[in-house]
């Protein structure tokens, strides 16, 4: 096991002529919880989507648990198994029940038997407090419930790292806390987490480090106390003023 869970060195990402990520250097230690925030279009989602190759970077290196992310498909698959991901729009498979959503990848990728996979899935569904929905379809659940299923689905693959891409942004306000509660629980158990989120309360409570991005660059990173109370850059101050202002 390498000493860093995620290690990114001078990584650059372009969309055609648009320079989306500029010389990103970022290390995430095992068990560390990192929150990435920043205005929209700042590249924070792109950054975590590069970590499991949903987006391809053009220059620099990324390694997850010491596995280099290159064009080797085996490495990509291994990294994707190590890093679970939760999306803004849940992305549950609508044609499968909740239980099937949670057992599909473990059965296909981890070669678990149906019984094994279902037992594990039920234990995670209990942890996210919706075991009774196991045989429903995603369309029958509320947004908050769907996102909790999405977290359980990712956990079923037993990942070492969890990537959260704005997990509460598509939720109605009253459902945000049920998802955050699950994420807080996960953090308390020592999961390595990288979260792109606007939930500053969550960042303050859980994060070991808060990263502020703008225009494809990491502008500032600091422990939450320092970050919120004494930000060093002007752009961070402006952003925090907008987010926390009301």
């Amino acid at each position: 096991m390498s000493d860093q869970a995620i290690s990114i060195r001078s990584m650059n990402k372009y969309y055609g002529g648009f320079h989306a990520l500029k010389d990103i250097d970022l290390d995430v230690a095992h068990g560390e919880k990192v929150v990435i925030c920043g205005p929209s279009g700042s590249g924070k989602s792109t950054l975590i989507r590069c970590i499991n190759r949903l987006e391809e970077h053009q220059a620099g290196t990324i390694a997850v648990n010491g596995i280099p992310l290159d064009d080797n498909v085996d490495n990509i698959d291994e990294i994707r198994r190590e890093a679970g991901m939760v999306f803004q729009n849940f992305n549950l498979f609508p044609h499968m029940t909740i239980l099937e959503n949670c057992t599909l990848a473990p059965r296909l990728v981890r070669k678990q038997t149906r019984e094994e996979a279902e037992a594990i899935a039920m234990s995670y569904l209990e942890r996210v407090k919706i075991p009774e929905q196991a045989h429903k379809y995603p369309g029958e659940l509320s947004g908050g419930q769907q996102q909790r299923v999405a977290i359980a689905r990712a956990l079923c693959m037993a990942p070492e790292i969890m990537l959260f891409d704005e997990p509460t942004s598509a939720l109605d306000p009253e459902m945000i806390s049920e998802v955050l509660d699950v994420m807080v629980g996960l953090a308390e158990e020592g999961m390595t987490m990288v979260c792109v989120t606007h939930e500053m309360g969550f960042a303050r409570q859980v994060a070991d480090r808060v990263i502020f991005m703008a225009d494809g660059e990491i502008i500032e990173q600091a422990p939450p106390g320092e970050f919120f109370d004494n930000p060093s850059s002007e752009r961070t101050k402006t952003f925090l003023g907008q987010v926390l202002g009301h």
Partner: protein, 357 residues
């Protein structure tokens, strides 16, 4: 009395409102109603009251001009259903048809919807059909494909085209969506070229031109060449239908599958195709219906599908007057088939809407 009046009042007022609102409106209603009644009555008269039933009454039919001659169907139905197939072996053709029908019905039952059972069912069905039709085994006399005809030929061509065309169309759709531009573009060009050719010219090419080009061992019977050509044509249309169904799937679906570490074939097999087929169900049923009806084109290259057999049945001097009855009978067979197909499609849509967003 008062209860009844209250109950019927809304219905009556509705009729009045919709059909008798103004004098002009009333006139049109009455005229159209009278016309409809006259058409229906004439049709009923022709089809039932004035009709001649029973076996072999062609002389009576000829004398009696203003009624349907169902005696034609009663006498000549075997030619319509079986074409040139030898008379004393026609039970085999009927049985083969029934086997295909059973296979089709069984494959509509969810119990058979698994990657193992469905292909197995169809392979068993096809082998049974072939043994029954072709013979040469188990003491059955051989009947070559040239002599097949009627309903069983139509059903055979349709089923073979769909079964060959469906996997082909999935392959085409995947190639068309390939991330390698030269593969995607070549496939797009191929689809566009084949779609722009008339089906008839493709059938001609495969039936008549291909034997000059292919080595002897690859020629095979004309019937199978036509089926292959038709299947490629079917696959080009169906590939675009499936691709449309794929494009309607949110990008997040494949991303979620990728993020779970699922490989390409797992993503295609478990995430993309099931949703693509659900999205594409109505146009797929449509494509099946068109394919079934266009099997009639094989007549032109010398096969006796059900329509050609019908024409042959009404083609002798004895029955030459019975073309309308023949077309009604053949039309009815087509209708039964296509209508059950569309009802099945509607059932599938209802069933699948359970798991939709």
């Amino acid at each position: 009395m008062t209860d009844l009046a209250i109950q019927s009042a809304p219905a009556l007022s509705k009729i009045k409102k919709h059909y008798f609102a103004t004098p002009l409106n009333s006139t049109i209603t009455v005229l159209l109603a009278a016309f409809t009644a006259w058409v229906l009555w004439s049709l009923f008269n022709w089809a039932f009251l004035d009709a001649i039933w029973g076996y072999g009454k062609n002389e009576e039919c000829r004398a009696h001009e203003h009624g349907a001659c169902w005696s034609f169907v009663a006498t000549r139905w075997r030619i319509v259903l079986f074409g040139l197939y030898p008379f004393e072996e026609q039970w085999r053709s009927a049985l083969a048809c029934i086997v295909m029908l059973i296979v089709a019905v069984l494959s509509c039952v969810p119990v058979f919807w698994s990657a193992k059972r469905l292909p197995l069912l169809w392979v068993v069905g096809f082998v049974t059909f072939y043994i029954l039709m072709r013979g040469g085994f188990f003491g059955l006399t051989t009947v070559v494909e040239r002599d097949w005809g009627g309903l069983s030929l139509t059903v055979f061509i349709f089923a073979a085209v769909c079964l060959l065309g469906m996997p082909l169309s999935i392959l085409f759709a995947l190639l068309r969506r390939s991330e390698l531009p030269w593969i995607a573009r070549t496939m797009a060009l191929l689809i566009d070229v084949i779609r722009s050719l008339p089906l008839l010219s493709i059938m001609f090419t495969f039936a008549i031109v291909l034997p000059f080009v292919l080595p002897d061992w690859a020629i095979g019977d004309k019937l199978y060449r036509v089926i292959v050509g038709y299947a490629i044509f079917f696959a080009c249309y169906q590939a675009e239908i499936i691709r449309g169904g794929m494009q309607a799937i949110p990008v997040g679906q494949e991303e979620a599958a990728k993020a779970l570490g699922m490989g390409y074939w797992h993503r295609i097999g478990y995430i993309v195709l099931p949703q693509a087929f659900r999205n594409a169900l109505p146009p797929t049923i449509n494509q099946f219906v068109i394919t079934f009806k266009e099997t009639s084109l094989v007549t032109i290259i010398g096969f006796f599908d059900i329509l050609a057999s019908g024409r042959a049945a009404a083609g002798t001097a004895d029955w030459s007057f019975a073309t309308i009855e023949m077309y009604v009978f053949v039309g009815l067979l087509f209708f039964v088939f296509v209508f059950s197909l569309s009802r099945y499609g509607a059932y599938l849509e209802r069933r699948m809407s359970v798991g939709s967003r």
